[in-house]
Amino acid sequence: MDVTEYRSRLAAASARIRELEDVEQIRALNRTYLRNLADRRWGAMLDDFTADAVVSIRSHGERRGREELAALFGAMHAAGSPPDAYLLTSPVVTVSGDEGEAAWTWHRHFTELPVMGGAVRITGPWWEGRYRCGYRRDGERWRFSAMHFRLVAPEGDADVDAVLGVHPKGVLR
C-alpha cells in the first residue's frame, strides 16, 4: 500500500465514522425532543428546529419558522399537561452530507379521560403515530428542518396516506 492509498482509505474511514456519529446525534435529538414533549418543556423544544423549519402535526396545519412554531407550542401548552407516557421506537435514519432524514414509530399511552368537566384515571387507551423528519447540520449541531407527524392507529388521521404514504387502519363502525 502506498502513501496515497493509505491516506485515501484513512480519510474514507474518518468520513464513515462521522456519518455514524451524525446518525447517533440525530437519534439523540429526536429522543430528547420527545422526552421534552412528554415533560411539557415547550421552551426547550424550539431550539431543536432550524430557523426555516417546516412542521406539520396532525390537523394543526403547516407551520414555518420558529415564530409560527412557538405559537403552535404555546397552543399545545395551553391544552394541559396530562400524565401520559410516550414511546419512540424503530428509528431508520439516513444522512447525506449536511442533510438527514428519518422515520420513527411513536406511541402515547393515556391515563386520564375527561368526564363531566373533570378527569378519571384509566389505563389502556393508546395511540400509534409516525414521524417523518428532515434534519440539517446547523453550526455545531443537528436540528429538525422538517417534521411531519400523523396518527396511524387505532384510527389513522384522514390524510395519513397523503402525508406519510401509510394506509389508514380499519375504523370501528
Binding site: V93, T105, H107, G124, W126, E128, V152, G170, L172
Partner: protein
C-alpha cells in the same frame, strides 16, 4: 510521510473492519425496524423483499417456509386476517455481526384496540402480546437481508413449542 509501515496498514484494516461491523449493525437494525413498520402498516406485498432468496421463516404454528415465493405467499396470506388498529413496538435489539453473517434477538409487543363480539368489532383497551424474534441476517449484493426469521409469542400465553425450538434459552448478553 514517505512510507506506510506494516503496523499502520494493520491498524487501518482493523479500523475498517470495526467500522464495517458498526455500519452493518445499523443497517440490520434499520432493516428489521422497517420490516415491522411495514407489517404494522399491512404492506404485506413488500415483505418478501426483506429476505434473501433462500431465506427460511418459522412463524409460530405456520411451519417453516423457504424461499421468497413461499415467504411471499405466507405474508400475503396475512391480508385475509382482519386486524383493526393494532399497535406494534419493536425493542431491545441485540445484533451480533460476524463478517457477512449476523444474528439478532428482539422483543416485540402488539397492543390491541378491538375485539370481535358477535361478529362485530368493539373497542377494547389493555390487551397486549409479547413475542420474540430470533433472526439471522446475511449480506447480499442488495444489502443486508433476513436469512432466517423465527418468531414466537412468549407472554401472556406462550406458544406451545417455545421450548422445543430453543427459544427459552438464556440469550448471550453481547
Amino acid at each position: 510521510m514517505t512510507d506506510v509501515t506494516d503496523e499502520q496498514i494493520d491498524r487501518l484494516e482493523e479500523l475498517e473492519a470495526r467500522i464495517d461491523a458498526i455500519e452493518s449493525r445499523e443497517a440490520i437494525e434499520s432493516l428489521h425496524a422497517s420490516f415491522v413498520r411495514d407489517v404494522a402498516d399491512r404492506r404485506f406485498e413488500a415483505l418478501a423483499g426483506y429476505f434473501a432468496p433462500d431465506a427460511v421463516i418459522d412463524m409460530r404454528g405456520h411451519g417453516p417456509r423457504q424461499g421468497r415465493a413461499e415467504i411471499d405467499e405466507h405474508f400475503q396470506g396475512m391480508e385475509a386476517v382482519p386486524l383493526l388498529g393494532a399497535g406494534y413496538v419493536l425493542s431491545s435489539p441485540v445484533v451480533v455481526v460476524d463478517g457477512d453473517h449476523a444474528t439478532g434477538r428482539w422483543t416485540w409487543h402488539r397492543f390491541h384496540s378491538s375485539a370481535q363480539v358477535a361478529g362485530r368489532p368493539v373497542r377494547v383497551w389493555g390487551v397486549w402480546e409479547e413475542g420474540r424474534y430470533w433472526c439471522e441476517y446475511v449480506r447480499t449484493p442488495e444489502g443486508w437481508r433476513f436469512a432466517v426469521m423465527r418468531f414466537r409469542m412468549v407472554r401472556p400465553d406462550p406458544d406451545p413449542d417455545l421450548e422445543a425450538v430453543g427459544m427459552t434459552e438464556e440469550g448471550a448478553s453481547s
